[in-house]
């Protein structure tokens, strides 16, 4: 077992609870132990960086100092927005000594800057393909999958360095491609899914505008669903609770606005891994989706 500190973030405790559930189940199967950071707080997300630069750095660093207090050096951060804010905060204090001093004063605890922030995709990509394959049950749901990475996992590369620690990429590589990442595709391919290529891997879904500029979300999300359907996908895999919310919950609104009939199930990549490992839909929280998943996948 390899142990990581675990920062689920607010969404994984509410709207994205099935991501939390499925990640924990899958992690256990492949020898990853997750230890939730005690008394973690919100990373501040978009409202913080749109309102105060100092606050947007202080909240993530506070959480990373809690990881250090728990004597951990690596933290798993499944929400792409939290992951982005953590990476940005580290980048900012590395490049601005004055800011680093201010932040130390504000969080009121020491921070040695010794924590590595990892997305579950990066962690799972370090597991040998053989280990993943050994867990796979015989019957894999017949889905044609496209992987949607969204904005924040890879952009901007100088800050995110997504996939730098992943062994699926060439040694000493600069990480996964910023416009055309493949980490998630390779993992799902390794557990037996049929993967399709498409053009909307890293386009924006409107993320933060879910509750405010909803019309923009419908416009952007429709383009993503359209391309997925055009290439023949029957499922979209995601690695971010905001991407999931926008793609899964807005299909009815999109159909009403554009006179379309989208009904494409959106899975967290951990749910698809879970299905391949033989967990049922309920265990993986697939019943919580608003766009129903295909029937017959090992219920």
């Amino acid at each position: 077992m390899i142990t990581y500190a675990y920062y689920p973030g607010c969404s994984l405790h509410s709207t994205g609870s099935e991501y939390d559930k499925s990640f924990r189940l899958v992690a256990k199967k492949i020898g990853i132990d997750l230890e939730e950071v005690p008394d973690w707080v919100c990373c501040g997300t978009s409202p913080a960086h749109s309102s105060s630069h100092l606050l947007s750095v202080a909240l993530p660093i506070k959480n990373l100092s809690l990881v250090e207090s728990a004597m951990r050096q690596e933290v798993a951060v499944p929400c792409a927005a939290c992951y982005s804010r953590f990476k940005f905060a580290l980048y900012e204090i590395d490049h601005d000594k004055k800011l680093a001093e201010d932040v130390k004063e504000i969080i009121g605890s020491s921070f040695q800057n010794k924590v590595k922030v990892l997305h579950p995709l990066e962690i799972i990509a370090q597991i040998p393909a053989q280990t993943l394959k050994e867990q796979v049950k015989e019957k894999i749901p017949e889905l044609k999958v496209v992987c949607y990475y969204g904005c924040l996992l890879t952009r901007p590369p100088k800050v995110m360095q997504f996939g730098v620690h992943s062994e699926l990429n060439a040694p000493n590589s600069k990480g996964d491609d910023v416009e055309y990442p493949i980490t998630m595709d390779k993992i799902l391919e390794n557990v037996g899914f049929e993967m399709l290529d498409w053009s909307y891997k890293t386009d924006c879904c409107g993320a933060t505008f879910a509750l405010t500029e909803t019309d923009a979300v419908l416009t952007l999300t429709e383009k993503i669903l359209k391309n997925a359907r055009e290439v023949g996908a029957t499922a979209i895999a995601v690695a971010c609770p905001l991407c999931h919310a926008n793609l899964d919950t807005r299909q009815e609104d999109i159909n009403a606005k554009y006179n379309t009939d989208y009904n494409i199930p959106i899975f967290y990549f951990t749910q698809l891994m879970g299905l391949a490992f033989g967990f049922n839909q309920k265990e993986l929280g697939i019943n919580k989706h608003l766009t129903p998943a295909m029937a017959g996948s090992s219920e």
Partner: protein, 187 residues
């Protein structure tokens, strides 16, 4: 004939940008890659490249009253693709912050209301409490019935908690961080 120039340069504004975030917008040579890649530019009144140019010209009123920064989804495409390494997404954040601090009414008020409601939520609960946030947002925007059906469906699927997860320790943590930030930024 008026002797006044159509453009009244405001070098102070440019400097304000430079001082707060150390981004030099003068590096921009108007290639417009930022605007071509921007998923939200279709809804903006000025494209990101135009807004950057307006900042360089010192057109402070135009910039602070624009919709552009409020419609930025922070997707980081512009920052990633800029050949001059101008951190455009950060400029968008900074323009929002300056506009609010100078009392300019946000051109897209729902986004600003959302930010305020979310921050208050984080300060009080330490973590985001979605139902509380939605309630607070509705009180600020008066859109009581927007997404009501969706909210009910999500609630029935167990995606929204009725009771926030409260811990005095966490609240104390965020309360302290917010007030220290507030104090420091007012100096």
């Amino acid at each position: 004939m008026s002797t006044q120039s159509a453009v009244v340069p405001n070098a102070k504004f440019l400097k304000q940008m430079d001082d707060t975030i150390k981004v030099n917008v003068n590096l921009c040579f108007q290639c417009r890659k930022c605007s071509a890649g921007c998923p939200m530019s279709y809804a903006m009144d000025y494209t990101p490249a135009q807004l950057i140019h307006a900042i360089r010209l010192g057109l402070k009123d135009l910039v602070l009253n624009s919709k552009t920064m409020w419609l930025c989804s922070s997707c980081q495409t512009c920052t990633t693709r800029c050949p001059q390494e101008v951190d455009i997404a950060k400029v968008m954040d900074t323009v929002k912050i300056i506009a609010v601090s100078e009392g300019v009414k946000p051109a897209i008020s729902s986004v600003h209301s959302f930010n305020k409601a979310a921050l208050r939520n984080i300060k009080w609960f330490g973590r985001m409490y979605e139902l509380g946030l939605i309630g607070d947002l509705k009180m600020r925007t008066f859109e009581f019935f927007k997404d009501m059906g969706l909210g009910v469906k999500m609630f029935l699927k167990g995606k929204l908690k009725i009771i926030p997860s409260i811990s005095p320790g966490r609240t104390l943590t965020t309360w302290k961080i917010f007030s220290r930030v507030n104090k420091k930024e007012r100096i």
